[in-house]
Symmetry: D2
Subunit: 130 residues, 4 copies
Protein backbone atom coordinates (compact mmCIF):
# COMPACT_ATOMS: atom_id res chain seq x y z
CA UNK A 1 0.00 0.00 0.00
CA UNK A 2 1.23 3.48 -0.81
CA UNK A 3 2.44 5.67 2.04
CA UNK A 4 4.59 8.66 2.81
CA UNK A 5 6.32 9.51 6.06
CA UNK A 6 6.75 12.94 7.54
CA UNK A 7 7.60 14.67 10.78
CA UNK A 8 5.25 17.09 12.53
CA UNK A 9 6.42 20.69 12.24
CA UNK A 10 6.01 22.97 15.26
CA UNK A 11 3.99 25.57 13.33
CA UNK A 12 1.34 22.90 12.71
CA UNK A 13 0.58 22.68 16.44
CA UNK A 14 -1.97 24.90 18.13
CA UNK A 15 -2.61 26.20 21.63
CA UNK A 16 -3.56 22.70 22.83
CA UNK A 17 0.03 21.64 21.94
CA UNK A 18 -1.27 19.20 19.35
CA UNK A 19 -1.42 19.22 15.58
CA UNK A 20 -4.49 21.26 14.66
CA UNK A 21 -7.41 19.27 13.22
CA UNK A 22 -7.25 21.07 9.89
CA UNK A 23 -3.63 20.06 9.32
CA UNK A 24 -4.69 16.42 8.97
CA UNK A 25 -6.50 17.44 5.80
CA UNK A 26 -3.20 18.86 4.52
CA UNK A 27 -1.38 15.64 5.37
CA UNK A 28 -4.02 13.50 3.66
CA UNK A 29 -4.05 15.64 0.52
CA UNK A 30 -0.27 15.58 0.34
CA UNK A 31 -0.27 11.76 0.53
CA UNK A 32 -2.91 11.50 -2.20
CA UNK A 33 -0.98 13.82 -4.52
CA UNK A 34 2.27 11.97 -3.88
CA UNK A 35 0.44 8.75 -4.68
CA UNK A 36 -0.73 10.29 -7.94
CA UNK A 37 2.85 11.05 -8.90
CA UNK A 38 3.85 7.41 -8.42
CA UNK A 39 1.25 6.27 -10.97
CA UNK A 40 2.03 9.05 -13.44
CA UNK A 41 -0.96 11.25 -12.61
CA UNK A 42 0.34 14.56 -11.39
CA UNK A 43 -2.53 16.44 -9.81
CA UNK A 44 -1.42 19.86 -11.06
CA UNK A 45 -0.95 18.51 -14.58
CA UNK A 46 -4.43 17.00 -14.48
CA UNK A 47 -5.90 20.36 -13.47
CA UNK A 48 -4.11 22.12 -16.30
CA UNK A 49 -5.72 19.59 -18.70
CA UNK A 50 -9.13 20.44 -17.27
CA UNK A 51 -9.44 17.18 -15.35
CA UNK A 52 -10.37 18.20 -11.82
CA UNK A 53 -10.34 15.74 -8.98
CA UNK A 54 -12.36 17.16 -6.14
CA UNK A 55 -13.12 15.99 -2.66
CA UNK A 56 -16.90 15.67 -2.35
CA UNK A 57 -17.08 14.07 1.10
CA UNK A 58 -14.56 13.52 3.87
CA UNK A 59 -15.06 11.32 6.90
CA UNK A 60 -12.35 11.74 9.49
CA UNK A 61 -12.09 9.70 12.68
CA UNK A 62 -9.65 11.24 15.10
CA UNK A 63 -8.28 8.46 17.37
CA UNK A 64 -5.26 10.08 18.99
CA UNK A 65 -3.42 13.37 18.82
CA UNK A 66 -0.04 14.30 17.42
CA UNK A 67 2.55 16.40 19.19
CA UNK A 68 5.61 18.36 18.22
CA UNK A 69 8.37 16.03 17.09
CA UNK A 70 6.11 13.09 16.23
CA UNK A 71 6.72 11.19 13.02
CA UNK A 72 3.87 9.66 11.03
CA UNK A 73 3.15 7.35 8.17
CA UNK A 74 0.27 8.44 5.94
CA UNK A 75 -1.34 5.87 3.71
CA UNK A 76 -3.49 6.30 0.61
CA UNK A 77 -5.42 3.33 -0.70
CA UNK A 78 -7.55 4.14 -3.74
CA UNK A 79 -10.82 2.43 -4.52
CA UNK A 80 -13.78 2.64 -6.85
CA UNK A 81 -17.43 1.71 -6.92
CA UNK A 82 -18.85 1.77 -10.42
CA UNK A 83 -17.69 4.35 -12.90
CA UNK A 84 -17.93 7.55 -10.90
CA UNK A 85 -17.60 6.68 -7.22
CA UNK A 86 -13.93 7.13 -6.44
CA UNK A 87 -12.44 7.14 -2.97
CA UNK A 88 -9.33 6.88 -0.87
CA UNK A 89 -9.05 5.01 2.39
CA UNK A 90 -6.36 6.73 4.37
CA UNK A 91 -4.68 6.35 7.74
CA UNK A 92 -2.29 8.47 9.73
CA UNK A 93 -0.16 6.27 11.95
CA UNK A 94 2.33 7.51 14.51
CA UNK A 95 5.58 5.61 14.19
CA UNK A 96 7.43 3.72 15.40
CA UNK A 97 4.66 2.82 17.94
CA UNK A 98 2.18 2.13 15.12
CA UNK A 99 -0.56 4.10 16.89
CA UNK A 100 -3.49 4.83 14.59
CA UNK A 101 -4.03 8.58 14.92
CA UNK A 102 -6.61 9.13 12.21
CA UNK A 103 -8.72 7.03 9.87
CA UNK A 104 -10.24 8.71 6.87
CA UNK A 105 -12.50 8.01 3.96
CA UNK A 106 -12.13 10.60 1.23
CA UNK A 107 -14.73 10.48 -1.52
CA UNK A 108 -13.58 12.07 -4.74
CA UNK A 109 -15.34 13.25 -7.87
CA UNK A 110 -13.77 13.80 -11.24
CA UNK A 111 -15.14 16.85 -13.03
CA UNK A 112 -14.43 17.79 -16.64
CA UNK A 113 -16.07 20.86 -18.18
CA UNK A 114 -18.14 21.22 -15.04
CA UNK A 115 -19.66 17.74 -15.33
CA UNK A 116 -18.95 14.41 -13.61
CA UNK A 117 -16.60 12.44 -15.82
CA UNK A 118 -14.59 9.25 -15.82
CA UNK A 119 -11.76 9.59 -18.32
CA UNK A 120 -9.74 6.41 -18.93
CA UNK A 121 -6.76 8.00 -17.25
CA UNK A 122 -8.50 7.47 -13.91
CA UNK A 123 -8.06 3.70 -14.31
CA UNK A 124 -4.36 4.22 -13.54
CA UNK A 125 -5.27 5.76 -10.26
CA UNK A 126 -8.40 4.07 -9.00
CA UNK A 127 -8.41 0.85 -10.95
CA UNK A 128 -10.81 -0.17 -13.73
CA UNK A 129 -14.56 0.12 -13.38
CA UNK A 130 -15.73 -2.96 -11.49
CA UNK B 1 -29.09 29.82 15.07
CA UNK B 2 -25.58 31.06 15.72
CA UNK B 3 -23.48 32.16 12.75
CA UNK B 4 -20.51 34.26 11.79
CA UNK B 5 -19.76 35.87 8.46
CA UNK B 6 -16.38 36.23 6.84
CA UNK B 7 -14.77 36.94 3.52
CA UNK B 8 -12.43 34.52 1.76
CA UNK B 9 -8.81 35.65 1.87
CA UNK B 10 -6.64 35.13 -1.19
CA UNK B 11 -3.98 33.15 0.70
CA UNK B 12 -6.64 30.55 1.52
CA UNK B 13 -7.00 29.66 -2.17
CA UNK B 14 -4.86 27.05 -3.84
CA UNK B 15 -3.72 26.26 -7.37
CA UNK B 16 -7.25 25.30 -8.38
CA UNK B 17 -8.24 28.92 -7.60
CA UNK B 18 -10.61 27.74 -4.88
CA UNK B 19 -10.45 27.74 -1.11
CA UNK B 20 -8.40 24.68 -0.14
CA UNK B 21 -10.36 21.84 1.46
CA UNK B 22 -8.44 22.08 4.72
CA UNK B 23 -9.40 25.74 5.20
CA UNK B 24 -13.03 24.73 5.71
CA UNK B 25 -11.92 23.01 8.90
CA UNK B 26 -10.44 26.34 10.01
CA UNK B 27 -13.67 28.15 9.20
CA UNK B 28 -15.77 25.60 11.09
CA UNK B 29 -13.51 25.66 14.15
CA UNK B 30 -13.55 29.44 14.19
CA UNK B 31 -17.35 29.47 14.13
CA UNK B 32 -17.54 26.92 16.98
CA UNK B 33 -15.15 28.91 19.14
CA UNK B 34 -16.99 32.15 18.44
CA UNK B 35 -20.19 30.39 19.41
CA UNK B 36 -18.56 29.32 22.68
CA UNK B 37 -17.74 32.93 23.48
CA UNK B 38 -21.38 33.94 23.09
CA UNK B 39 -22.45 31.44 25.76
CA UNK B 40 -19.60 32.27 28.10
CA UNK B 41 -17.45 29.26 27.30
CA UNK B 42 -14.17 30.48 25.92
CA UNK B 43 -12.35 27.55 24.37
CA UNK B 44 -8.90 28.67 25.48
CA UNK B 45 -10.13 29.27 29.04
CA UNK B 46 -11.66 25.80 29.10
CA UNK B 47 -8.35 24.26 28.03
CA UNK B 48 -6.49 26.15 30.76
CA UNK B 49 -8.93 24.65 33.28
CA UNK B 50 -8.16 21.16 31.95
CA UNK B 51 -11.49 20.83 30.14
CA UNK B 52 -10.59 19.76 26.62
CA UNK B 53 -13.15 19.71 23.86
CA UNK B 54 -11.83 17.56 21.05
CA UNK B 55 -13.13 16.69 17.63
CA UNK B 56 -13.46 12.92 17.47
CA UNK B 57 -15.19 12.61 14.09
CA UNK B 58 -15.81 15.05 11.25
CA UNK B 59 -18.13 14.46 8.32
CA UNK B 60 -17.78 17.08 5.62
CA UNK B 61 -19.92 17.24 2.51
CA UNK B 62 -18.47 19.60 -0.06
CA UNK B 63 -21.32 20.90 -2.28
CA UNK B 64 -19.71 23.84 -4.06
CA UNK B 65 -16.41 25.66 -4.06
CA UNK B 66 -15.42 29.07 -2.83
CA UNK B 67 -13.37 31.58 -4.75
CA UNK B 68 -11.36 34.67 -3.98
CA UNK B 69 -13.63 37.48 -2.86
CA UNK B 70 -16.56 35.28 -1.82
CA UNK B 71 -18.32 36.02 1.44
CA UNK B 72 -19.79 33.26 3.59
CA UNK B 73 -22.02 32.65 6.55
CA UNK B 74 -20.86 29.84 8.83
CA UNK B 75 -23.38 28.32 11.21
CA UNK B 76 -22.84 26.28 14.36
CA UNK B 77 -25.79 24.43 15.84
CA UNK B 78 -24.88 22.37 18.92
CA UNK B 79 -26.59 19.15 19.86
CA UNK B 80 -26.30 16.30 22.28
CA UNK B 81 -27.28 12.64 22.52
CA UNK B 82 -27.11 11.35 26.06
CA UNK B 83 -24.44 12.57 28.42
CA UNK B 84 -21.31 12.24 26.33
CA UNK B 85 -22.29 12.46 22.67
CA UNK B 86 -21.85 16.09 21.74
CA UNK B 87 -21.93 17.44 18.24
CA UNK B 88 -22.25 20.49 16.02
CA UNK B 89 -24.24 20.65 12.83
CA UNK B 90 -22.57 23.28 10.69
CA UNK B 91 -23.04 24.83 7.29
CA UNK B 92 -21.00 27.14 5.14
CA UNK B 93 -23.25 29.21 2.93
CA UNK B 94 -22.09 31.60 0.23
CA UNK B 95 -23.93 34.89 0.49
CA UNK B 96 -25.86 36.71 -0.72
CA UNK B 97 -26.88 33.86 -3.13
CA UNK B 98 -27.48 31.47 -0.18
CA UNK B 99 -25.59 28.67 -1.92
CA UNK B 100 -24.80 25.82 0.47
CA UNK B 101 -21.07 25.23 0.02
CA UNK B 102 -20.44 22.73 2.80
CA UNK B 103 -22.47 20.72 5.28
CA UNK B 104 -20.68 19.30 8.27
CA UNK B 105 -21.32 17.14 11.29
CA UNK B 106 -18.62 17.60 13.90
CA UNK B 107 -18.67 15.09 16.75
CA UNK B 108 -16.96 16.35 19.86
CA UNK B 109 -15.70 14.67 23.02
CA UNK B 110 -15.02 16.37 26.31
CA UNK B 111 -11.92 15.04 28.03
CA UNK B 112 -10.86 15.87 31.58
CA UNK B 113 -7.76 14.25 33.08
CA UNK B 114 -7.51 12.06 30.02
CA UNK B 115 -10.98 10.59 30.47
CA UNK B 116 -14.37 11.27 28.84
CA UNK B 117 -16.24 13.71 31.04
CA UNK B 118 -19.44 15.73 31.05
CA UNK B 119 -18.99 18.66 33.45
CA UNK B 120 -22.12 20.71 34.11
CA UNK B 121 -20.55 23.62 32.26
CA UNK B 122 -21.23 21.77 29.01
CA UNK B 123 -24.97 22.25 29.53
CA UNK B 124 -24.45 25.91 28.60
CA UNK B 125 -23.05 24.87 25.30
CA UNK B 126 -24.81 21.72 24.21
CA UNK B 127 -27.95 21.80 26.28
CA UNK B 128 -28.88 19.51 29.18
CA UNK B 129 -28.65 15.75 28.94
CA UNK B 130 -31.79 14.57 27.19
CA UNK C 1 -4.81 55.68 5.03
CA UNK C 2 -6.27 52.35 3.97
CA UNK C 3 -6.86 49.74 6.63
CA UNK C 4 -8.83 46.62 7.40
CA UNK C 5 -9.82 45.24 10.76
CA UNK C 6 -9.97 41.61 11.77
CA UNK C 7 -10.10 39.38 14.80
CA UNK C 8 -7.46 36.75 15.57
CA UNK C 9 -8.72 33.22 15.00
CA UNK C 10 -7.68 30.49 17.44
CA UNK C 11 -6.18 28.27 14.73
CA UNK C 12 -3.71 31.05 13.94
CA UNK C 13 -2.13 30.70 17.40
CA UNK C 14 0.70 28.30 18.10
CA UNK C 15 2.09 26.49 21.12
CA UNK C 16 3.34 29.77 22.61
CA UNK C 17 -0.34 30.87 22.72
CA UNK C 18 0.38 33.72 20.32
CA UNK C 19 -0.33 34.29 16.65
CA UNK C 20 2.43 32.48 14.75
CA UNK C 21 4.97 34.72 13.03
CA UNK C 22 4.05 33.46 9.58
CA UNK C 23 0.41 34.48 10.00
CA UNK C 24 1.42 38.15 10.01
CA UNK C 25 2.47 37.67 6.40
CA UNK C 26 -1.05 36.42 5.69
CA UNK C 27 -2.59 39.43 7.42
CA UNK C 28 -0.37 41.86 5.51
CA UNK C 29 -1.09 40.23 2.16
CA UNK C 30 -4.79 40.26 2.84
CA UNK C 31 -4.69 44.00 3.62
CA UNK C 32 -2.72 44.73 0.43
CA UNK C 33 -5.15 42.78 -1.71
CA UNK C 34 -8.14 44.45 -0.09
CA UNK C 35 -6.49 47.79 -0.76
CA UNK C 36 -6.10 46.81 -4.40
CA UNK C 37 -9.82 46.14 -4.65
CA UNK C 38 -10.62 49.64 -3.38
CA UNK C 39 -8.65 51.21 -6.25
CA UNK C 40 -10.00 48.86 -8.87
CA UNK C 41 -6.95 46.59 -9.10
CA UNK C 42 -8.01 43.11 -8.15
CA UNK C 43 -4.89 41.04 -7.57
CA UNK C 44 -6.33 37.85 -9.06
CA UNK C 45 -7.54 39.75 -12.13
CA UNK C 46 -4.10 41.29 -12.58
CA UNK C 47 -2.51 37.83 -12.47
CA UNK C 48 -4.92 36.53 -15.08
CA UNK C 49 -3.84 39.41 -17.34
CA UNK C 50 -0.21 38.42 -16.87
CA UNK C 51 0.57 41.34 -14.56
CA UNK C 52 2.26 39.79 -11.55
CA UNK C 53 2.91 41.78 -8.41
CA UNK C 54 5.51 39.94 -6.37
CA UNK C 55 7.04 40.57 -3.00
CA UNK C 56 10.80 40.89 -3.51
CA UNK C 57 11.79 41.93 0.01
CA UNK C 58 9.94 41.98 3.32
CA UNK C 59 11.16 43.68 6.47
CA UNK C 60 9.09 42.82 9.51
CA UNK C 61 9.59 44.33 12.96
CA UNK C 62 7.72 42.39 15.60
CA UNK C 63 6.97 44.75 18.51
CA UNK C 64 4.35 42.83 20.49
CA UNK C 65 2.48 39.59 20.23
CA UNK C 66 -1.16 38.83 19.50
CA UNK C 67 -3.33 36.44 21.47
CA UNK C 68 -6.56 34.60 20.91
CA UNK C 69 -9.44 37.04 20.81
CA UNK C 70 -7.39 40.12 19.94
CA UNK C 71 -8.68 42.47 17.28
CA UNK C 72 -6.33 44.34 14.96
CA UNK C 73 -6.23 47.09 12.41
CA UNK C 74 -3.93 46.41 9.46
CA UNK C 75 -2.81 49.35 7.35
CA UNK C 76 -1.42 49.43 3.82
CA UNK C 77 0.22 52.61 2.61
CA UNK C 78 1.60 52.33 -0.92
CA UNK C 79 4.67 54.20 -2.13
CA UNK C 80 7.01 54.40 -5.06
CA UNK C 81 10.59 55.41 -5.81
CA UNK C 82 11.17 55.93 -9.51
CA UNK C 83 9.45 53.75 -12.03
CA UNK C 84 10.06 50.28 -10.67
CA UNK C 85 10.57 50.54 -6.93
CA UNK C 86 7.16 49.91 -5.42
CA UNK C 87 6.49 49.32 -1.77
CA UNK C 88 3.93 49.18 1.01
CA UNK C 89 4.44 50.51 4.49
CA UNK C 90 2.21 48.46 6.74
CA UNK C 91 1.35 48.27 10.40
CA UNK C 92 -0.58 45.83 12.52
CA UNK C 93 -2.13 47.62 15.48
CA UNK C 94 -3.99 45.96 18.31
CA UNK C 95 -7.20 47.80 19.03
CA UNK C 96 -8.70 49.47 20.91
CA UNK C 97 -5.41 50.01 22.87
CA UNK C 98 -3.61 51.16 19.70
CA UNK C 99 -0.57 49.00 20.49
CA UNK C 100 1.74 48.68 17.49
CA UNK C 101 2.27 44.95 17.10
CA UNK C 102 4.17 44.86 13.82
CA UNK C 103 5.73 47.35 11.43
CA UNK C 104 6.52 46.18 7.95
CA UNK C 105 8.08 47.39 4.74
CA UNK C 106 7.05 45.24 1.80
CA UNK C 107 8.98 45.85 -1.41
CA UNK C 108 7.09 44.77 -4.47
CA UNK C 109 8.08 44.12 -8.08
CA UNK C 110 5.78 44.08 -11.06
CA UNK C 111 6.66 41.38 -13.55
CA UNK C 112 5.13 41.01 -17.02
CA UNK C 113 6.32 38.27 -19.37
CA UNK C 114 9.04 37.43 -16.87
CA UNK C 115 10.53 40.95 -16.92
CA UNK C 116 10.28 43.95 -14.59
CA UNK C 117 7.54 46.21 -15.88
CA UNK C 118 5.65 49.32 -14.90
CA UNK C 119 2.32 49.34 -16.74
CA UNK C 120 0.30 52.54 -16.37
CA UNK C 121 -2.25 50.65 -14.34
CA UNK C 122 0.20 50.68 -11.42
CA UNK C 123 -0.25 54.45 -11.13
CA UNK C 124 -3.69 53.75 -9.64
CA UNK C 125 -2.10 51.73 -6.94
CA UNK C 126 1.27 53.26 -6.15
CA UNK C 127 0.90 56.75 -7.53
CA UNK C 128 2.62 58.23 -10.59
CA UNK C 129 6.38 57.97 -11.12
CA UNK C 130 7.98 60.71 -9.05
CA UNK D 1 26.34 24.39 8.26
CA UNK D 2 23.04 23.01 9.47
CA UNK D 3 20.33 22.35 6.92
CA UNK D 4 17.17 20.37 6.34
CA UNK D 5 15.66 19.28 3.06
CA UNK D 6 12.00 19.13 2.21
CA UNK D 7 9.65 18.93 -0.73
CA UNK D 8 7.02 21.54 -1.51
CA UNK D 9 3.50 20.34 -0.76
CA UNK D 10 0.70 21.30 -3.14
CA UNK D 11 -1.41 22.91 -0.41
CA UNK D 12 1.41 25.40 0.18
CA UNK D 13 0.94 26.85 -3.31
CA UNK D 14 -1.47 29.68 -4.02
CA UNK D 15 -3.37 30.98 -7.02
CA UNK D 16 -0.15 32.14 -8.68
CA UNK D 17 0.93 28.47 -8.69
CA UNK D 18 3.86 29.25 -6.43
CA UNK D 19 4.56 28.66 -2.75
CA UNK D 20 2.85 31.50 -0.91
CA UNK D 21 5.17 34.08 0.64
CA UNK D 22 4.02 33.30 4.16
CA UNK D 23 5.00 29.63 3.84
CA UNK D 24 8.68 30.62 3.67
CA UNK D 25 8.34 31.78 7.26
CA UNK D 26 7.09 28.29 8.13
CA UNK D 27 10.03 26.68 6.36
CA UNK D 28 12.53 28.95 8.09
CA UNK D 29 11.02 28.37 11.53
CA UNK D 30 11.00 24.63 10.98
CA UNK D 31 14.71 24.68 10.05
CA UNK D 32 15.58 26.75 13.15
CA UNK D 33 13.68 24.41 15.44
CA UNK D 34 15.28 21.35 13.86
CA UNK D 35 18.65 23.00 14.35
CA UNK D 36 17.79 23.52 18.02
CA UNK D 37 17.12 19.81 18.41
CA UNK D 38 20.57 18.94 17.06
CA UNK D 39 22.24 21.01 19.78
CA UNK D 40 19.97 19.75 22.54
CA UNK D 41 17.74 22.83 22.75
CA UNK D 42 14.24 21.78 21.96
CA UNK D 43 12.17 24.88 21.34
CA UNK D 44 9.02 23.54 23.01
CA UNK D 45 11.02 22.41 26.06
CA UNK D 46 12.59 25.86 26.32
CA UNK D 47 9.15 27.47 26.27
CA UNK D 48 7.91 25.16 29.01
CA UNK D 49 10.89 26.30 31.13
CA UNK D 50 9.90 29.91 30.56
CA UNK D 51 12.74 30.60 28.13
CA UNK D 52 11.08 32.19 25.11
CA UNK D 53 12.97 32.71 21.89
CA UNK D 54 11.08 35.25 19.82
CA UNK D 55 11.59 36.66 16.37
CA UNK D 56 11.96 40.44 16.74
CA UNK D 57 12.87 41.29 13.16
CA UNK D 58 12.80 39.34 9.91
CA UNK D 59 14.40 40.43 6.65
CA UNK D 60 13.42 38.26 3.72
CA UNK D 61 14.80 38.63 0.22
CA UNK D 62 12.76 36.69 -2.29
CA UNK D 63 15.01 35.80 -5.26
CA UNK D 64 12.99 33.14 -7.08
CA UNK D 65 9.75 31.29 -6.63
CA UNK D 66 9.00 27.70 -5.75
CA UNK D 67 6.52 25.48 -7.53
CA UNK D 68 4.68 22.27 -6.80
CA UNK D 69 7.09 19.37 -6.70
CA UNK D 70 10.23 21.44 -6.00
CA UNK D 71 12.67 20.23 -3.39
CA UNK D 72 14.63 22.65 -1.23
CA UNK D 73 17.48 22.81 1.21
CA UNK D 74 16.92 25.21 4.11
CA UNK D 75 19.93 26.38 6.06
CA UNK D 76 20.14 27.89 9.54
CA UNK D 77 23.39 29.54 10.59
CA UNK D 78 23.22 31.05 14.07
CA UNK D 79 25.17 34.14 15.11
CA UNK D 80 25.50 36.59 17.94
CA UNK D 81 26.55 40.17 18.54
CA UNK D 82 27.21 40.88 22.18
CA UNK D 83 25.12 39.26 24.84
CA UNK D 84 21.59 39.86 23.58
CA UNK D 85 21.72 40.24 19.81
CA UNK D 86 21.03 36.79 18.45
CA UNK D 87 20.28 35.99 14.84
CA UNK D 88 20.04 33.35 12.18
CA UNK D 89 21.26 33.70 8.63
CA UNK D 90 19.11 31.42 6.54
CA UNK D 91 18.77 30.44 2.92
CA UNK D 92 16.26 28.45 0.96
CA UNK D 93 17.93 26.79 -2.01
CA UNK D 94 16.15 24.84 -4.71
CA UNK D 95 17.95 21.59 -5.40
CA UNK D 96 19.52 20.02 -7.28
CA UNK D 97 20.02 23.23 -9.35
CA UNK D 98 21.31 25.13 -6.31
CA UNK D 99 19.13 28.15 -7.12
CA UNK D 100 18.93 30.56 -4.20
CA UNK D 101 15.22 31.15 -3.70
CA UNK D 102 15.27 33.17 -0.49
CA UNK D 103 17.84 34.79 1.76
CA UNK D 104 16.80 35.71 5.25
CA UNK D 105 18.14 37.38 8.35
CA UNK D 106 16.09 36.46 11.41
CA UNK D 107 16.83 38.50 14.53
CA UNK D 108 15.84 36.74 17.70
CA UNK D 109 15.35 37.86 21.29
CA UNK D 110 15.39 35.66 24.35
CA UNK D 111 12.79 36.65 26.91
CA UNK D 112 12.53 35.26 30.44
CA UNK D 113 9.88 36.56 32.83
CA UNK D 114 8.98 39.21 30.27
CA UNK D 115 12.51 40.65 30.14
CA UNK D 116 15.42 40.29 27.72
CA UNK D 117 17.70 37.56 29.03
CA UNK D 118 20.77 35.61 28.00
CA UNK D 119 20.82 32.35 29.96
CA UNK D 120 23.99 30.27 29.55
CA UNK D 121 22.00 27.67 27.69
CA UNK D 122 21.95 30.01 24.68
CA UNK D 123 25.71 29.53 24.26
CA UNK D 124 24.94 26.05 22.91
CA UNK D 125 22.83 27.56 20.23
CA UNK D 126 24.35 30.88 19.27
CA UNK D 127 27.90 30.54 20.55
CA UNK D 128 29.49 32.35 23.48
CA UNK D 129 29.28 36.11 23.89
CA UNK D 130 31.95 37.64 21.69
Amino acid sequence: MFFIELKVRDYECDQQDVVNNSVYMNYLQHARHEFGDTVGLNWVDLCSKGINLMVRRAELDYRHFLRSGDTVRITAEPGRKGKFKLFFKQKIIRIPEETVVLEAMIHVACVVDGKPAAPDILDEWFGPVS
